[in-house]
């Protein structure tokens, strides 16, 4: 016997729920505890789990429908069981109608007649012999679609066999194999052969038309593992931290020059190629030593001004984002920074970072300079209170000493936590960082 699925009443004030999505399709097997659908109430979004085991037989409502509580929105039961086409009225409504009905008095005859009809046409019951049911089961046919030749419309084995034959599709063996390989419903393919026989070309035509017509259904992946961790952290940060983002443009002429000169030296020493990232890390760490209020963490209503300057480096990995920490970045030379950042990057991508390497950062740099990104508003990596977003270096016309000239320019975006840091100190830090990058020789001072 099929079991009803009701719109649950999830709070004392809830009267309707909005269906956000079905998580099962009709025909899907359902276990107890499987999420069936997601609804939105006046308070929350929630996935509703199944209390029954079986097959989802019927969905009466679509996404975005507003459904009153305790309404039957579907049925779960055994495959092949029949359920009403229309959602049955909930009990409450029926009672209401009876009370309202002025024609409460019915003759005994009428009542008897109704009772009789009720027994004969019992909702969702098909009159069929065991053999008919067996054959229908074997052929995956629904008895509802078959008309019975027996007394009172009873469906007999032959009726089912006739229906099977009627449903049988003329198809060549090759076309049938192709359809099977592509998991096609042969009944949807139009045959052009003799008596509508489906041939290879029909399947091919169907396949090519399908490619155009039917979009692949969207892939749904559950939030879990690293993705879930990233999602939680981002949500927490975005929701709890008042972000302010400052941007400035940096003339990278000299950094490019320095990098060109240092490249062979660093490569010779470490085997790794020096990148702009390391020069930016070095400059940032250096500047942070002079702006302790930016190198701060906000922990349990306390602003912690960190002594160590540990730069977190956002690394994109499969399905997520990891921020390994370069400890004491201000005390490391460019060669060491290059070696460390390249090693940590590789370890992050290989999922081999140790917990120590993943924690302790006091300030994070997120570099999207390898893409065609000028500037962005990075989200702070709590409990840190600031993050630097690095854009690409691109040649732009700039005015230098009254003349328009072309310079390699780069946008820096500094997001800071306005609970811990105010605009002026943040601006001062970003200004000094810009100056450091434009005059990197100050790093040697």
């Amino acid at each position: 016997m099929a079991k009803e699925i009701f719109m649950p009443k999830l709070s004392s004030t809830m009267e309707v729920g909005t269906l956000l999505q079905w998580l099962k399709e009709e025909g899907d097997p359902v276990q107890v505890g499987d999420p069936l659908f997601e609804i939105m109430t006046d308070k929350i979004n929630i996935e509703v789990e199944s209390y029954e085991e079986g097959v989802l037989l019927k969905k009466y409502y679509e996404v975005d429908d507003e459904v009153p509580i305790n309404t039957i929105i579907g049925y779960i039961g055994e495959a092949g069981e029949t359920v009403p086409d229309e959602p049955p009225a909930s009990e409450g409504e029926e009672v209401q109608e009876e009370v309202d009905s002025p024609k409460a008095e019915k003759t005994t005859m009428e009542q008897e007649q109704e009772e009789l009809e009720e027994v004969e046409g019992q909702v969702g019951k098909v009159r069929a012999t065991p053999a008919a049911r067996r054959v229908a089961r074997e052929n995956d046919l629904s008895l509802e679609t078959i008309s019975g030749s027996g007394p009172k419309g009873r469906i007999h084995e032959q009726d089912v066999l006739d229906a099977v034959k009627e449903n049988a599709v003329l198809i060549t063996p090759l076309a049938e194999k192709m359809a099977k390989d592509h998991q096609l419903d042969v009944r949807k393919i139009e045959g052009t052969g003799i008596r509508g026989k489906i041939e290879k070309s029909d399947v091919e035509r169907y396949l090519s038309s399908q490619k155009v017509r039917e979009e692949e259904p969207a892939e749904r992946v559950k939030l879990k593992g690293l993705r879930k961790a990233v999602a939680d952290k981002m949500l927490e940060s975005a929701r709890s931290i008042p972000h302010v983002t400052l941007t400035t443009e940096v003339d990278m002429t000299k950094v490019i020059d320095i990098r060109k000169n240092l490249l062979p030296i660093v490569e010779n020493e470490t085997g790794y190629r020096l990148s702009f990232t390391e020069i930016i890390i070095k400059s940032t760490a250096h500047t942070l030593t002079k702006h302790r209020n930016i190198n701060a963490s906000l922990i349990d209503n306390e602003i912690v001004y960190n002594k160590a300057v540990n730069i977190g480096l956002a690394v994109a990995v499969d399905n997520g984002l990891i921020v390994p920490s370069i400890h004491d970045a201000d005390k490391k030379g460019l060669a060491e920074l290059t070696a460390v950042s390249k090693t940590l990057g590789k370890k992050a991508r290989d999922s081999k970072l140790t917990p120590a390497e993943m924690t302790g950062s006091t300030f994070t740099i997120s570099n999207l300079g390898m893409y065609a990104i000028d500037g962005f508003t990075p989200i702070i990596n709590p409990p840190e209170t600031a993050i630097l977003g690095v854009g690409r270096i691109t040649e732009k016309p700039v005015v230098v000493d009254g003349n328009i000239t072309v310079r390699p320019m780069m946008v820096l975006s500094l997001s800071f936590d306005h609970r811990a840091i105010d605009g002026a100190p943040a601006a001062a830090f970003l200004t000094e960082l810009k100056e450091t990058l434009e005059n990197p020789y100050s790093l040697f001072v």
């Binding site: 012999t129 065991p130 053999a131 049911r133 067996r134 027996g150 007999h156 084995e157």
Partner: protein
Amino acid sequence: MRVITYLEAVREAMQQEMRQNDDVYILGEDIGLYGGAFGVTRGMIEEFGPERVRNTPISESGIAGAAVGSALTGMRPILELQFSDFITIATDQMVNQAAKLRYMYGGKGNVPMVLRTPSGSGTGAAAQHSQSLEAWMTHIPGLKVIQPSTAYDAKGLLKAAIDDANPVVFYEHKLLYGTKSEVPEDLYSIPIGVADVKREGTDITIVATAVMVHKSLEAAKELEKEGISVEVVDPRTLVPLDEETIVKSVAKTGHLVVVHEAVKRGGYGGEIASMIAESEAFDYLDAPIKRLGGVAAPIPYNPELEKLAVPQVPDIIKAVKETLNKA
């Protein structure tokens, strides 16, 4: 092969067994010179003498009790009740003694006896001499119940019943005594608990007992003319019942009509129908199972009414057609 009557087959089984086994003897009312109510034992007292063909007083309880006692002491009695209606009087001995003793003695004693008795209507013998009460005995654990429908089955099954270490109730049908079939001259045994497919068919199974086997075969012949292929299964023994053969047949045909002469209400047909409903064959049933049995009324003396009281060939034909949606 030689053709003899059902009655002769029953007598021959007893004679041949008595010739080779001194433990076997028969007892009953008027079975001596008179030859029994239907003449089954005619000539036997001349051959075996009054020691082994014992006339008894008119006391079914006494006859059955004597049989139980002598069986316990190692004899193999075959007792005859003139009419199966009188099993009521022998019932205490059969139900509370014969059926129980082997179990209550933990197998140290047994009761190898046969109770032979003619049953059924059709002879104008009225309500007290025409009943079919076999369902009563099938309900009692410890009793085997046999209902042969042909001379061949009667001889072979009676031999098996005599050889059996348990009490066996052997129902002969009055209307079948005169029917003939090929019967081997030598003694042979038909295993108890094996049904016989009397006619093979594909559209519908009729499970029939005793005289109804013949009526069903007649109906099958008529139905064949209309293109309906009927399989007729004769269980031959009700206890133990050959469920496998019946299940197999019903699974093949998908339709079942059960026919017996006994009153339908509480009759053995209900047992067969339920057995099918519980069996593997259920999923192959393509119509409700139909039972045909006697009407719930004492068998009338009026010969026309007597016929109406039990299933006849047209009733069987009608039931088959209804079951096949061809009525």
